[in-house]
Symmetry: C2
Subunit: 199 residues, 2 copies
Amino acid sequence: MTPEPIKAFIARFARLPAIGPRLATRLAFYVATQGEQTIVELAAALQGLATLDLCPQCFTLKPRSETTCAVCSDPTRTPRVVAIVERDTDRMALERTGRYHGRYLVMGELPERGVLEPEHRRRLTYLADRIRRDAGGKIDEVIIAVGLHSFGDLLAGLIREEFQGLAKKITRLGRGIPTGGEIEFADEETLCAALERRG
Amino acid sequence: MTPEPIKAFIARFARLPAIGPRLATRLAFYVATQGEQTIVELAAALQGLATLDLCPQCFTLKPRSETTCAVCSDPTRTPRVVAIVERDTDRMALERTGRYHGRYLVMGELPERGVLEPEHRRRLTYLADRIRRDAGGKIDEVIIAVGLHSFGDLLAGLIREEFQGLAKKITRLGRGIPTGGEIEFADEETLCAALERRG
């Protein structure tokens, strides 16, 4: 009863993160009733993504036509400090602060938190090898900028092991009350950290 | 800093219902890192929607190659009972019951509840005209199958006015406790309706 193209759209879009069958269904009918112009625009926006690939140094998305990403090719960004993030969007958030002047390593999203896939390990090893080869075996700092949840703690442990001896400091983003955060809604662990780091 | 194609994707997809900038950003990076095959599949699924148009009788989405939708072209479905729904997905829900054998009129989604656009009115008038012209001025029943929220009540009033004298009965879907619904969580209006309709 439901037209095939609607079913096909739902089947494919439902597999995207945070979409699922319900939203995919809503989108299918919405888009189909918006007419051809909308479809052309959306398809063009999608196909534009095919002009991107990963920076060979930090695995950030970059235009295929450029050798490395904007940060890696910026001579004012020190290669002696590297922040390890999970996603491009984490990297974007750090860039928005305007306070970070080092480089990055994007590990790639961990589909099920708790599982480090070969690709994630490959990227960490690649950075370690580059430090050994191009940076005289030691950089100034590795910043572990992954989420402060329990899997993040596990991950931080793994990263620490990998970079032991390859950086003067291995640090992690500070835990504390977020700006605008209510004390009463903070969990105990955050509050303890906030107390310890008070000042 | 963010590559243009990512920005363009976010700008366009954020305008879809229930997507917004946050999810559009997540999708952009997700899709871009999945590689070309994923992009090709998603674009094909999108473009498939362009092969659909609206049934000229009930405004349901149908393959462009067919004259009317599957329900309107089914001789076992009586044109003397018409259910007026807001969305194709509401129509799908009624079809799934397997208990409805009449036809439909899809009004089109009301973007801001409370506002009836000219297109919605045009479709209602079109049905009224068809009843006058092709059905001897009166059908058996118009079922108002719109949501049972306060705007639905307003809408039901408008529909009742439009079809006054054009149907032997103008009914509305029954209000009551949903299957599996907890009595204690039902709102008062629903409970009152459930009491009145008990049996």
